[in-house]
């Protein structure tokens, strides 16, 4: 096969040790035609010819498909035969092939960080089809900028650290349980902590799970049984993180475990609960019922032994009188435990949105409840009654606490409204409607919605079934919020729901009902302390942020801290379990060898330039990433900034404040960017002859 490339400049003869960056840069430049994707707009041959004239460019080629085996071979041959020691490829997006070409240069013995990628396709040929000459000129400037950066590139090495293989999973809901089990089965020890005194999270509160109508209690029980049978998992309930130090592979985490106050073998549970005079709203039933200060949330909970709610216990000692000696310990102090772990899985879950007092009648009329409350009502009663009256007509209103509009809805304490879609509530509402229809076929159900978003596999079936079951749907515009008002005295139904229904072209409809159910959205659990301790970032919606929703969907910007489940955003149980498996895989891959490898993109201090001012230390958001050290040099006491690479996430905030430009992020140096700007703006001879 003839050589399809065009060499614009004769390569220097002789072999140079390619792995050594010593000496002047010898840059290999490759312009990919990407079939016709780039080549039909950008005159690649002209680009290669122009770039070949630039300083330090040893060889400049163009080729049909640089990512193909022959394309990659051109690069490896040039490295080994022509002494190329830096490589710049202009091709498709860096997200597609940057890693491909890094591996190519590495195979040829060159440091993989002596490679730079230019996205000629997405950012040039595909957006300037109409002007091939302009696209060609732009390609030359873009590639020149890459070459300018390549001249300054230095070989980099990933950061290698010994890693503790233990993993901390924070949260004992379905995502935390699933993640813990999956990690343990990969051979890594796990410590699972749960803030409440019982495992299971919100799944314990539901009866059925869509889209399979699975029995939630059976699913959870099976999962918990597997977790407690797994010898590699240590469980602490009533436990939360109180401090964190360290970095990936080496986190020092202190947890505080609140005592249960009741011995494991305490036998007089029922008597003690009966003796307790305290009555508080039972959070397990979302306040529909009361519980005592000594309680078990539900039959079959794990751990099975009850717990004393220290916030509400009045120390009246009534429970002590019925208990066996030593079975109840009201003054047991909390215990602090230090853990050394290599990675952390944050599975802190969600909380249902709590409507404001008066929001659609909530808190104002007792006949207005939330969907979670309805679920508990259905789970704990054989009949559908409210206030000792049978429910004959029921209205379910979607999007309460979701898709809120600024100025129309009351903000949360942080001043923001919940403008996101909670995703799971549409199907959850329809699932509840169908179950009500099955169990209580005479109940009339109205479903008041903006949009039905039954997005997942099998979810739409619930909508179809609800339609067949005779559920009446009414649709309103987002800004025309339904109103819930008290019916006139003596009316048959206690409440009226007023809706401007778009399905009947704006007819104003009044629905007399016995009960209104607000389909509330999902909000993240309040974990601001944990967020601060772990230095992870919440998004605008307050859920925890991943590095990238598609490419790095469970990793945070803090190495070694990954996300699982609804801490990250609204998810179904199915999605939470999938996310937990992803998180487990991520930490298993990270820690399985007892060592971790981190990208070399961390801050680096030039001790010759550093004046020890300490601005970098002041602004650094990562605890322990940079500090000042004092040393004596030539009899003078000097202060210098020192970076702990493992703690640095390469955010570069330190770079922006250093008055002597003594600090940079490796691989992303400021002088590299300055050189690129210079190349973009230069009146370069490379552009001569380009129209």
């Amino acid at each position: 096969m003839p050589d399809p490339t065009a060499e614009s400049q004769t390569a220097a003869a002789g072999k140079i040790n390619a792995s050594s960056p010593a000496g002047a840069p010898r840059i290999g430049v490759y312009v990919c035609e990407c079939g016709g994707n780039i080549g039909e707009t950008v005159r690649c041959e002209q680009v290669a010819n122009a770039l070949g004239k630039l300083a330090n460019v040893t060889i400049a080629r163009h080729y049909q498909f640089m990512c193909s085996d022959p394309g990659q071979k051109l690069i490896t041959d040039d490295i080994t035969e022509k002494g190329v020691n830096r490589v710049v490829v202009g091709a498709c997006s860096l997200f597609l092939h940057e890693q491909t070409f890094r591996k190519t240069v590495e195979r040829a013995g060159l440091n993989p960080y002596l490679y730079y990628h230019i996205g000629l396709r997405e950012q040039d040929s595909w957006v300037h089809h109409e002007c091939p000459a302009d696209a060609t000129a732009k390609a030359i400037r873009m590639m020149s900028a890459g070459i300018a950066k390549a001249r300054l590139m230095q070989p980099l090495a990933p950061v290698h650290l010994d890693a503790d293989q233990r993993v901390l999973v924070i949260g004992g809901g379905v995502a935390g349980l699933r993640a813990a089990l999956s990690i343990a089965r990969r051979g890594l020890p796990v410590t699972l902590i749960e803030k409440s005194h019982f495992l299971g999270g919100h799944v314990a509160q539901w009866e059925h799970l869509f889209p399979t109508d699975e029995d939630a209690a059976a699913l959870l029980e099976g999962l918990i049984e597997e977790v407690i049978a797994e010898s590699k998992i240590t469980i602490y309930t009533g436990a939360e993180v109180v401090s964190t130090k360290g970095y990936v592979g080496n986190f020092d985490i202190r947890i505080r475990v609140q005592p249960r106050g009741v011995a494991k073998d305490f036998a007089a549970v029922d008597q003690a609960i009966a003796a307790c005079p305290v009555q508080v709203p039972d959070e397990f039933n979302f306040g529909l019922t009361q519980r005592k200060a000594i309680y078990q949330p539900y039959v079959g909970c794990y751990p099975a032994s009850p717990v004393i709610d220290r916030e509400h216990c009045t120390r009246c000692n009534e429970c002590l009188r019925v208990g066996q000696n030593g079975g109840i310990r009201l003054d047991e102090p909390p215990v602090e435990i230090d853990l050394k772990v290599g990675a952390v899985v944050v599975a802190t879950g969600f909380r249902p949105y709590e409507p404001f007092a008066g929001e659609m009648g909530y808190g104002e009329f007792p006949e207005v409840i939330t969907l979670p409350q309805l679920e508990r009502l259905l789970a704990t009663n054989d009949r559908l009654e409210w206030n000792a009256r049978p429910v004959r007509r029921l209205a379910m209103i979607h999007c309460v606490g979701s898709r809120q509009i600024e100025g129309m809805h009351a903000p949360q304490p942080d001043g923001k409204v919940n403008d996101y879609c909670s995703r799971v509530c549409c199907t959850a509402t329809l699932s509840a409607a169908n179950r009500i229809h099955t169990r209580f076929p005479n109940v009339t159900i109205y479903d008041v919605y903006q949009d039905i978003r039954t997005y997942g596999r099998g979810h739409e079936d619930y909508y179809v079934r609800a339609c067949k079951n005779g559920v009446t749907f009414l649709r309103h515009l987002p800004e025309e919020i339904p109103e819930v008002i008290r019916s006139e005295k003596g009316a048959e139904y206690p409440l009226l729901v007023k809706v401007k229904d778009r399905l009947t072209w704006g007819e104003e409809i009044e629905l007399p009902v016995d009960l209104v159910v607000l389909s509330v959205g999902i909000m993240p659990s309040p974990i601001s302390d944990l967020v601060d301790m772990l230095k992870i970032a919440p998004g605008n919606d307050r859920f925890l942020l991943e590095v990238h929703p598609k490419l790095r969907p469970v990793e945070t910007a803090v190495a070694g801290v990954v996300l699982a489940g609804t801490a990250q955003g609204p998810m179904t149980v199915q999605e939470s379990c999938a996310a937990a498996e992803a998180a487990a895989t991520k930490v298993a891959v990270l820690l399985s060898r007892g060592k971790v490898e981190l990208e070399p993109y961390v801050a680096q201090v030039d001790p010759e330039r550093c004046q020890g001012v300490g601005e970098c230390v002041c602004v650094c958001p990562q605890e322990g990433a940079i500090h000042l050290e004092t040393r004596i040099e030539n009899g003078k006491m000097l202060r210098r900034a020192v970076v702990t690479a493992a703690n640095c996430n390469g955010c570069g905030v330190c770079v922006s404040v250093c008055p002597s430009r003594a600090i940079d992020v490796q691989g992303w140096r400021l002088d590299g960017f300055e050189a690129m700007v210079e190349a973009i703006t230069a009146e370069t001879p490379a552009l001569e002859g380009v129209a």
Partner: protein, 151 residues
């Protein structure tokens, strides 16, 4: 999207974070949406690493408008949003002192799929540059040095 397809004289530099604006730019490319070829997009790790002097130098070298496209409050890097906003505000002050129209520098939150906002930003910047023309050059070196020490 209305785009100005003839080649403008002015050059626009776009600093686009890998977790936000750069992917938005790629998304625009994948949609084959045209925009003026005077925009040069540099991928950056975070927007918070550039001191005011970087922007002033870029204007000095021949850039006429700069758009910083980052993830805003959705940045995966804690503190990036606040720090970047602070730096840009500092730069505005320095630009005014140097008779550089502060509108030449824009900070925009662009997410991975923000194709329309990405194009809007480029269009707005080009409309502005059409109105006010290229950036004045010839800033005394002393002022650049001063900016470096101020940052």
């Amino acid at each position: 999207m209305t785009t100005q397809l003839r080649t403008p004289v002015c050059k626009v530099l776009i600093l686009a974070t890998l977790s936000g604006g750069y992917r938005g730019a790629d998304a625009a490319g994948q949609s084959h949406l045209e925009y003026p070829s005077n925009s040069y997009i540099l991928p950056v790790r975070t927007a918070a690493m550039f001191p005011p002097s970087f922007y002033l130098n870029a204007f000095q070298q021949g850039i006429d408008g700069i758009i910083v496209m980052y993830s805003g409050t959705d940045s995966p890097y804690k503190g990036e949003s606040e720090r970047t906003a602070k730096i840009i505000n500092q730069t505005y002050v320095l630009m005014k002192e140097r008779a550089l129209d502060p509108r030449r520098l824009r900070l925009a939150a662009i997410c991975t799929v923000c194709v329309r906002p990405f194009l809007n930003e480029i269009q707005k910047m080009n409309a502005l540059l059409e109105e006010i023309g290229p950036a004045p050059r010839g800033l005394p070196t002393a002022l650049i040095v001063q900016a470096q020490s101020a940052s």
